[in-house]
């Protein structure tokens, strides 16, 4: 079977605040034989600021990148970032309307004709690689690790645009984590907002919303939170102290990218996974996981003898 091939759009944060997401994504895809092709001269998708100001401008920024993908001879792309995913998919949809497309193309050096489908890395891992293959490739199961899977608000929304997983109760990360041996705790706030970019303008709002997510994860008994969004990760991890202050609580819970945990389970070298980039270190959680695993092994050996 030929390996699935995608143009890879890392997104701006992939080169900055979420380097560890980019690195771990590349490492995991390599290990699972997903062929990611780097895009020459890619540029920002416009992120939130562009589409809040002008839909044409926003679409032009994304369409420029979609054009590069076509020029690579590919019509399938992937990105780890949900915000980039939304912009690339929205541009593709909106460009189908003739009048809109013409206005966008006026802004571009080379007109974009359409025809690229962008999927999240998460979708590719579930659909192209598959849970069975992921389970089979797992060499260091995450047994004993309690995980809360947090998807954020836009990973699966709006459903008519994303067309992947359940938009109210997504399960993709839950299933991957379960396949790799982790224990997924019921986490009811899977698709609740973390406060997103309000962290800049209204820190209090983000602190309150993120605080609620952290508290719920801890109450559910999670050792770690996994997420698929750079902004969610930053709010839950980098801003955890702000959130805890708003809550008046004192605990700590690491927030990792799901690809980092996947890399760990696949036995990839730690240096490729970037755990040192995480503010709230997962070391303790990993240590506890090891202990839980040993105890389990002991008890099962004990029962055998």
């Amino acid at each position: 079977m030929s390996s699935p091939t995608y143009a890879y759009y890392p997104g701006c944060s992939g080169l900055g605040t979420s380097k560890e997401y980019d690195r771990s994504t590349r490492a995991v895809c390599k290990a699972l034989r997903v062929d990611l092709r780097d895009m020459p001269d890619w540029s920002c998708c416009g992120s939130t600021p562009a589409h809040t100001v002008d839909h044409i401008f926003s679409a032009a920024l994304s369409a420029r990148n979609l054009g590069i993908i076509l020029a690579m001879g590919l019509n399938a792309a992937t990105t780890p970032c949900p915000s980039c995913l939304t912009n690339l998919r929205t541009a593709e949809e909106r460009m189908k309307k003739t009048e809109f497309g013409e206005r966008v193309n006026k802004l571009l050096d080379a007109p974009y004709a359409g025809g690229v489908e962008t999927k999240s890395v998460l979708q590719i891992l579930v659909e192209d690689v598959g849970l069975e293959a992921i389970a089979a490739a797992t060499v260091k199961p995450l047994a004993g690790l309690k995980v809360a899977a947090y998807y954020g608000c836009i990973m699966n929304r709006p459903p008519e645009l994303m067309r992947f997983d359940d938009h109210e109760n997504p399960m993709a990360m839950d299933r991957i984590m379960t396949a790799m041996g982790a224990e997924v705790v019921p986490f009811p706030l899977k698709v609740e907002c973390c406060g997103a970019s309000y962290g800049v303008a209204r820190q209090d709002v983000t602190a309150k919303l993120s605080g609620r997510l952290l508290q719920t994860a801890v109450d559910a008994g999670a050792d770690v939170i996994v997420t698929a969004c750079p902004l969610c990760q930053m709010n839950l991890d980098l801003r955890q102290n702000q959130a805890l202050k708003a809550l008046g609580a004192s605990f700590s819970i690491p927030t990792l990218y799901y690809t980092q945990l996947m890399g760990k389970a696949l036995g990839l070298p730690e240096v490729e996974l970037g755990f040192d980039k995480i503010c709230v270190s997962p070391k303790q959680a990993f240590a506890a996981m090891g202990k839980a695993k040993e105890e389990k092994q002991k008890s099962s050996q004990g029962s055998r003898t």
């Binding site: 359940d166 938009h167 109210e168 109760n169 019921p186 009811p188 706030l189 609740e192 719920t216």
Partner: protein, 652 residues
């Protein structure tokens, strides 16, 4: 042939953009037209009189009326020329209102088009032949499908009117949704107490034959003479012997059968009588759960039954009945709320439907009328009601308003306060729709006297919290988010067409709308009729409605049937197909394409020939276009007539 042409002004509806006098003048030039006149209102009494007078004075053989659509007034003018002494089929109409004056503003162009349409009508009329309907006998027995309150009312009214009624009910007892309700709004009457006597009447009425646990298998025939096959499903209990004592239910070792009557709240024994007032009060075995069927051994009920009614070998039975009219009163089903992921999609046990809550409130329900939430049996103190779950929501393909949820939610909140005085109810609503006698007063009472808190806005999320449920929504009047920590959430699920409604509609040859509700013949003026003669509608099968409206429709449908049955004989429509036996080669294509089974093959001097069964033929014309020989012709719409119309229009 002498033809008269009448052009109607329809006030200014037609005259406003059509020169009717000019049309009349032009009509005089058409062949065989001896008289043409414009009339102010052709359908009015003076208008009809003018037509009748002209027929008599000018000795007309046929009449063209150019006015509105024939769907509106063809019967009117047919009767008028009949009064003038002509055959009623010697009439043609030209639709110069809907097809001309209402759709174009150019008076000259409109006038020209009107002249063309009159020309077509004249040419067709020249080839019309007088037609005479045939009379046939009718079976004065009615079939009522569905034993909910609408069907019960229809059956009782028909039976009291002296007609035989066959009432078919899919489940093992009549009563429908109303029997599941605890109380009814706005009077807070006990639902089963007001319905119970009617159910008993059905059981005891000498004119009503009740087939419970039965379904309609097949319908053929036509108004006055339907042949219906009913499937009497195997109950595995001989109902002639069963006394309804209930001993079998107590001893049955399998208690996890789906308790449909209690909406799945708690299990039922595999042999079950659904509720104390069940009519008929007979037991049915659920073969999916019965150990005798699942494991092949048990037989406890057979041992315990004092009358020896249990029969594990029972098979479905087909019963054939002849009826003259059918009333479809098949009710509704509840919207599947698990489509709403934000309400938990069925993952939270303490998020229940309004009908489940109704069973919790009912003294004959699984909790004997004590409100206990499903997860831990605790009495809830804070209850959140969410309205419009599967109503007024395009995203789940339910854009319509169910109409009665606002009222039952108000009632349930009031009853909650009665059951648990220290409780607090919240209602998330979009609009309060309470248009009915004493309805708005009732919802106000809930708010003012029972302290129900109404929050105008939708709920965005329900998540478990501290053993309860956190309900988050918008308060659109305050422009704020609100969060309520609830012990129980009740979803006011909307109504949708009953399961199997579409299949039944196909059997009855009636239409249904996009959502599966049966189509009435006219939304305002023929609300209980269908476009299939002899088939009538009642209750929620036609669209969601509350109990008084359903009862009203039950009676209305019964009145329609009684009116039909009061006729000595029925007349068929003579605009039907005829076979020219000389041309027919007996290929049988018409027989296979006829959707009504109105054509059968006969032996004519050793050769196969097609023959039309006149009382069954609906005049659709499919056979006429199917026949390769042109041997089948539809009376009043023959090939020649249609071709002449085309030629009249396309002279050049």
């Amino acid at each position: 042939m002498k033809i008269g042409v009448f052009i109607c002004h329809c006030g200014s509806n037609i005259e406003g953009t059509v020169d009717t006098a000019a049309v009349a003048e032009a009509a005089m030039a058409f062949p065989e037209v001896v008289y043409a006149k414009d009339l102010m209102y052709a359908c009015s009494e003076p208008g009809q009189d003018a037509v009748i007078e002209a027929v008599r004075e000018k000795g007309l053989d046929g009449v063209v009326v150019a006015s509105c659509t024939p769907r509106m007034h063809e019967p009117t003018f047919r009767r008028a020329i009949e009064r003038a002494g002509l055959n009623r089929y010697m009439l043609e109409m030209a639709n110069i209102r809907e097809h001309v004056s209402w759709i174009g503003k150019n008076r000259e162009a409109n006038t020209n088009k009107a002249v063309d349409l009159v020309n077509i009508a004249v040419e067709k009329l020249r080839r019309d032949r007088p037609l005479t309907p045939k009379s046939f006998d009718i079976t004065r027995r009615a079939l009522v499908i569905g034993g909910g309150v609408a069907g019960i009312q229809a059956a009782l009214d028909l039976a009291d009117g002296g007609k035989e009624v066959i009432l078919v009910e899919r489940t093992s007892s009549i009563g429908g949704k109303m029997a599941q309700l605890d109380k009814t709004f706005p009077t807070v009457d006990c639902s089963s107490c007001v319905l119970g006597p009617k159910m008993v009447d059905v059981a005891q009425h000498p004119n009503i034959t009740l087939y419970a646990y039965s379904e309609v298998e097949e319908v053929s025939g036509y108004v006055g003479n339907f042949d219906v096959k009913l499937r009497k499903k195997a109950t595995y209990v001989d109902w002639a012997k069963c006394t309804g004592c209930g001993a079998c239910m107590e001893k049955c070792p399998s208690k996890k059968s789906l308790d449909r009557f209690n909406e799945g709240m708690g299990g039922a024994p595999a042999i079950n009588i659904p509720f104390p007032q069940a009519t008929p009060k007979k037991a049915v075995i659920d073969a999916e759960y019965c150990r005798q069927f699942v494991k092949g051994k048990c037989g406890v009920c057979a041992k315990i039954c004092p009358t020896g009614a249990i029969n594990y070998d029972m098979k479905d039975e087909i019963i054939e009945v002849k009826v003259g009219a059918i009333i479809a009163a098949t009710g509704y089903d509840l919207f599947d709320y698990t489509k709403y992921g934000e309400y938990g999609g069925g993952r939270y046990p303490d998020v229940i439907t309004s009908l489940q809550y109704e069973r919790l409130l009912s003294a004959s329900g699984p909790t004997e009328g004590h409100i206990k939430r499903p997860s831990d049996g605790k009495e809830p103190k804070t209850i959140v009601f969410i309205q419009c779950v599967g109503s007024r929501d395009k995203s789940v393909d339910r854009p319509y308003c169910t109409g009665f949820c606002c009222m039952y939610t108000a009632k349930q909140a009031i009853l909650t306060k009665d059951h648990i005085p220290d409780s607090q109810s919240y209602v998330f609503y979009m609009d309060i729709r309470a248009p009915g006698k004493l309805y708005d007063e009732f919802t106000r009472r809930g708010i003012e006297e029972y302290g129900t808190r109404y929050i105008r806005g939708r709920v965005s999320m329900i998540v478990p919290k501290n053993g309860g449920l956190l309900v988050r929504g918008a308060d659109t009047l305050l422009g704020q988010q609100v969060e309520v920590e609830a012990d129980l959430v009740v979803l006011a699920v909307g109504a949708e067409a009953a399961k199997g409604a579409r299949q039944l509609a196909e059997k009855l040859r009636i239409s249904f709308d996009n959502y599966g509700y049966f189509m009435e013949s006219h939304p305002k003026l023929r609300p209980v009729e269908t476009n299939t003669a002899g088939v009538f509608l009642a209750g929620c099968a036609q669209g969601p409605k509350d109990i008084p409206a359903s009862v009203g429709q039950g009676s209305a449908a019964a009145a329609k049937v009684l009116g039909l049955f009061s006729k000595e004989q029925l007349e068929n429509d003579p605009q039907i197909s005829q076979v020219d036996i000389k041309r027919c080669v007996g290929c049988g294509k018409c027989e296979s394409t006829c959707p009504f089974g109105a054509i059968h093959m006969i032996d004519f001097r050793g050769q196969p020939k097609a023959e039309v069964i006149e009382t069954v033929c609906q005049g659709c014309g499919i056979c006429a276009v199917t026949c390769p020989q042109g041997a089948v012709q539809l009376s009043h719409f023959t090939d020649n007539q249609i071709l002449t119309e085309v030629e009249a229009l396309c002279l050049f």
